[in-house]
Amino acid sequence: MELTGSILVLTGAFFLFSAGLGLLRMPDTFTRIQAGTKASTLGNILVLAGLGFYHPDWALKLLVVAYFVLMTNPLSSHALSRAAHAIRTPMAPSTMVDALREEGDRQGNGDVS
């Protein structure tokens, strides 16, 4: 039981570590947003699940925290990346497709909203 919990915590910590690494190493803002958000959300939930194995009586509160992070973290990074797109943050030279810009052009206004 405890071994399962600690392995889950270790996996989560590895994902958090890779989130930090991606945040530092990725070439432009948008890739940093996706690296920082996805990996850290998964890592956080894994750490909380591992702690749930240690303390089964804390499980409900840990579940609430995990649910909250799962709901809010993608939301805030979505708003952030939309803002970054709106103020024309430069993208990495290797970017091929800008779907949000194309959608805005198709609707006839340059300003995507």
């Binding site: 649910y67 909250f68 709901m71 809010t72 939301l75 979505h78 708003a79 939309r82 709106a86 909203s113």
Partner: protein, 229 residues
């Protein structure tokens, strides 16, 4: 010249602070007053959270004054900013961008959770980390999310004002009841202590905590709404 004098001032303060930190040894035990509080709050008041016990009962006057300060701030911000919201809101051509649909829907999912958590923090003020002020701040941050994600919503200032005033009046009324039925103003022994560590316990502390939470939440919501333009 000005930069040099500012730097000098900051460096002087830095030297003073360095002296304070260098001469400070970490304490090994709490002071006599704190030991008294730590021993008396669970036994006399029946509240597991010592900080809430101190804030609501032993320093009840202070908390009452604090709530009065918040009330004055709400009134002052209303006086400073209240008269102009009708002119700037209807200004054409400066329509703010609507937040995306995802943010709106996400806020609708998260808002009940936040308000529920605020109520939880308020009601668990005497058991766990929390209390009236903290829970009120959580409720007010829910209001802030409402304004960020759904900008078209209007707050009912009249209702919030009446709620806040009622909570304040009942708070002072409980204080006077303490004067009549127990040892002094804002004494929490007017209700039975109950079983230690349960939700309905610790005398009047949960009631006062709930009133504080309602009052602080309403006041902070009004203040935040005033700053929206």
């Amino acid at each position: 010249m000005k930069a040099a004098s500012s730097l000098l001032a900051v460096l002087l303060f830095g030297a003073v602070f360095a002296g304070i930190v260098g001469g400070y040894g970490e304490r090994e035990s709490v002071s006599a007053l704190a030991e008294q509080y730590l021993a008396m709050v669970p036994r006399e008041l029946g509240a597991p959270n010592v900080v809430t016990g101190i804030l609501i009962t032993y320093r009840g006057f202070d908390t009452l004054g604090e709530v009065a300060v918040l009330f004055m701030v709400a009134a002052g911000v209303g006086v400073l900013l209240g008269g102009k919201d009708t002119t700037t809101a209807s200004e054409p051509g400066r329509e703010p961008r609507r937040p995306s649909e995802l943010v709106g829907n996400g806020a609708e999912i998260t808002l009940p959770l936040i308000f529920l958590f605020g109520a939880y923090v308020i009601k668990n003020g005497h058991l766990s980390a929390g209390g009236g002020f903290q829970g009120g701040a959580v409720v007010a941050s829910g209001t802030m999310l409402l304004m960020l994600a759904l900008p078209a919503t209007k707050l009912n200032h009249g209702f919030l004002g009446v709620t806040e005033s009622l909570a304040g009046v009942v708070y002072v009324g409980i204080g006077i009841l303490g004067l009549v039925f127990a040892a002094g103003f804002l004494d929490s022994h007017i209700l039975p202590l109950g079983e230690f560590g349960t939700l309905i316990s610790a005398g009047a502390i949960p009631v006062i905590s709930a009133l504080l939470g309602v009052k602080v939440g309403a006041e902070l919501s009004v203040i935040i709404d005033r700053f929206r333009n």
